[in-house]
């Protein structure tokens, strides 16, 4: 009966090949009362009624009239599990998706179903299977127009049906069935019930997995259509948020930046003429313009992602100012590396340093005022009262409005950064500018490396003893001499 199982997976049929199949098989063939509710007293009654109904030529199962004559000649009992594969799944079986109900309930349903002419919503595997087998054999049996075969089948059926009847009669009469049989019946009932529950759970699991799969496919499709296939799955349901999109773009930007750095390095070492070097430097500057453009877009969709520095590495985040590097800090770092400078250049650089500091200070004060205003809005009204009292949503709306201003500040800060880089380019000679941009790239890349080292450092509690061998990091190497020093004392 594995074929049956295969065909019926996904419907309400027997999707597990467990013991539930077996009782059904045995039960409906009638030679042992194994396991189904058919063969308690209701089951026996059912068969008797069915026989009577069929003998009277009643169409018990199908509502379509084609099968009427067929049914009168061929009682269904032995034809329930034909050897041919099931090819016809009619919608009459597919209605209910899960089997549930108690044993007695299902038996009642089965009886009522067979007595009524229309298929009612099924509550039991066995009734479904029974019906489906009915239909299937009807279909199959209608194909051979050869009447003789039918007759033979009929004859055979009559015979075994009689046998069934005899057996059932015995069972019905011998109400005092021995304990062993009773226990076996009970156990089989129990097993059947358990397998029904298992099946139900499995089907529910399948359903939820199916929905999840549909959702994933949808997200994948969306990501693909945006040209943003991210190999590592994102955390929040697969929808590419502004933050994720920016992170991906930033990663690509970093890769490109390495290429520009390599070009600068190569150009300097090769002592390219100024004309050629200028092209490389301007490309590099244009590349910086690109990240500021991307940040402008990102600020519109997720300003917090930018301003909290979640797009950068930990060490970079430590120096974060308004969503990026602080221009005056960068200039301080760069100054010693730009020597030799002319008098004019030195003045220019000092002015640049001063003006960026002033601009940073102004923006910082503006942001501080925004923060104060936001805090005031969030804290307005009573903080210790029930939030439903007062104008909670109104406050929230106002706070949201104020948060909108953050975008402007990040925008101005990026503008400041961009202007600073452009001004550097103007003040310096081509060679100096090349070295300058190389220095900026190298500095940031060292910060990123530092973050990386820090993230992968061995934790204190993972070092068992002083003498334990731990993977050597620069921190470890530094530590050992220090420890040695103190151990002297």
């Amino acid at each position: 009966m594995d074929r049956m199982s295969d065909h019926r997976v996904g419907e309400t049929g027997l999707s597990d090949s467990g013991p539930s199949n077996q009782p059904l098989t045995y039960g409906l063939h009638g030679f042992s009362p194994a396991g189904t509710n058919f063969f308690d007293q209701e089951g026996a009654a059912y068969f008797e009624e069915l026989e009577e109904a069929l003998m009277q030529g009643v169409v018990g199962i199908r509502s379509d009239g084609d099968t009427k004559t067929y049914l009168t000649t061929r009682p269904p009992t032995l034809e329930i599990f034909p050897s041919w594969p099931m090819r016809f799944h009619h919608n009459t079986v597919g209605n209910s998706q899960s089997a549930e109900s108690s044993d007695s309930g299902s038996a009642q349903n089965t009886i009522s179903q067979l007595e009524s002419e229309s298929p009612v919503s099924r509550k039991d595997d066995y009734s479904e299977l029974f019906t489906e087998q009915q239909q299937q054999q009807q279909q199959q049996q209608m194909i051979p127009s050869d009447g003789s075969k039918t007759e033979i089948g009929t004859a055979g059926n009559h015979q075994s049906r009689d046998q069934d009847k005899r057996r059932l009669t015995t069972e019905k009469d011998g109400r005092n069935l021995d304990a062993k049989t009773l226990r076996r019946l009970a156990q089989n009932r129990e097993a059947a019930r358990k397998s029904r529950l298992r099946k139900k759970a499995y089907v529910q699991q399948l359903e939820s997995s199916r929905m999840k799969l549909a959702q994933l496919e949808q997200d994948l499709q969306r990501a693909r259509s945006q040209g943003l296939l991210i190999p590592g799955a994102s955390t929040n349901g697969g929808i590419s948020s502004g933050a994720e999109i920016f992170d991906m773009e930033y990663a690509q930007w970093l890769d490109e930046n390495y290429k520009h750095m390599a070009e600068l390095q190569g150009g300097l070492q090769a002592h390219l003429p100024d004309g050629n070097l200028r092209v490389i430097v301007d490309d590099c500057l244009k590349h910086y313009d690109e990240i500021f453009r991307l940040k402008t877009i990102a600020a519109k969709s997720d300003v917090f992602h930018l301003i909290t520095g979640m797009w950068t590495t930990p060490a970079e985040r430590c120096f974060l100012w308004m969503g990026g590097f602080r221009p005056s800090d960068l200039l301080k770092i760069l100054m010693p590396h730009l020597d030799p400078l002319t008098e004019q250049q030195l003045v220019g650089l000092c002015n640049l340093q001063q003006s960026s500091q002033q601009a940073e200070e102004a923006l910082s004060q503006g942001l501080e005022q925004l923060q104060q205003s936001l805090a005031d809005t969030v804290a307005s009204g009573s903080l210790s009262e029930d939030p439903k009292v007062g104008n909670y949503m109104g406050q929230m709306a106002m706070a949201l409005g104020k948060i909108g201003n953050l975008e402007g500040f990040v925008r101005q800060a990026d503008n400041l950064r961009q202007q600073t880089l452009h001004q550097l380019r103007r003040i310096l000679t081509i060679r100096q500018a090349a070295r300058c941009f190389l220095a900026i790239g190298e500095y940031n890349s060292r910060l990123r490396a530092l973050s990386s080292l820090w993230s992968s450092r061995p934790r204190e509690n993972s070092i068992a003893t002083e003498n334990s061998f731990a993977p050597a990091t620069s921190l470890q190497i530094l530590q050992q001499p220090v420890d040695a020093h103190f151990s002297v004392f």
Partner: protein, 134 residues
């Protein structure tokens, strides 16, 4: 910092009206813009602002930090605020404050002010307008 009251605005209005009476006829002439420009010409540094705007606060801090004493018009507190807004929209495409004039000439919104400070053009402009002495 000096916060101008309605008097200055009224004076500018009268002057503009008089000028209009005298001769105007140029196709592009806009009384509101004209008034704003007159206002702007009255001081070395003029900032059009909104009292609750944090970016306006930032630009005011910037000039004060440089030792400049700008003239500020708060559009939400000024009786002719709406008109000024309209004029700024015509001049800049949007009514977003802050808007800065130095020496009667339009510098622009915050990003232009920042850019001009960084590229070193703002300070000479301020000196020229007499707002900075060094």
């Amino acid at each position: 910092m000096q916060y101008e009251a309605a008097e200055a605005w009224a004076a500018a209005y009268m002057a503009a009206a008089a000028a209009a009476g005298r001769g105007g006829g140029a196709g592009m002439w806009d009384p509101a813009v004209e008034r704003v420009e007159r206002l702007a010409a009255e001081s070395a540094v003029v900032i059009f602002s909104v009292s609750s705007c944090c970016m306006c606060h930032a630009v005011k801090r910037l000039f004060c930090g440089m030792g400049v004493n700008p003239t500020v018009y708060e559009l939400d507190e000024d009786p002719r605020g709406k008109e000024i807004e309209r004029a700024l929209t015509r001049l800049l495409g949007s009514a977003a404050v802050p808007v800065v004039f130095v020496g009667g000439k339009l510098v622009g919104a915050m990003d232009r002010v920042m850019a001009s400070h960084i590229n070193g053009t703002l300070v000479p402009l301020l000196k020229e307008a007499g707002a900075l002495w060094l």
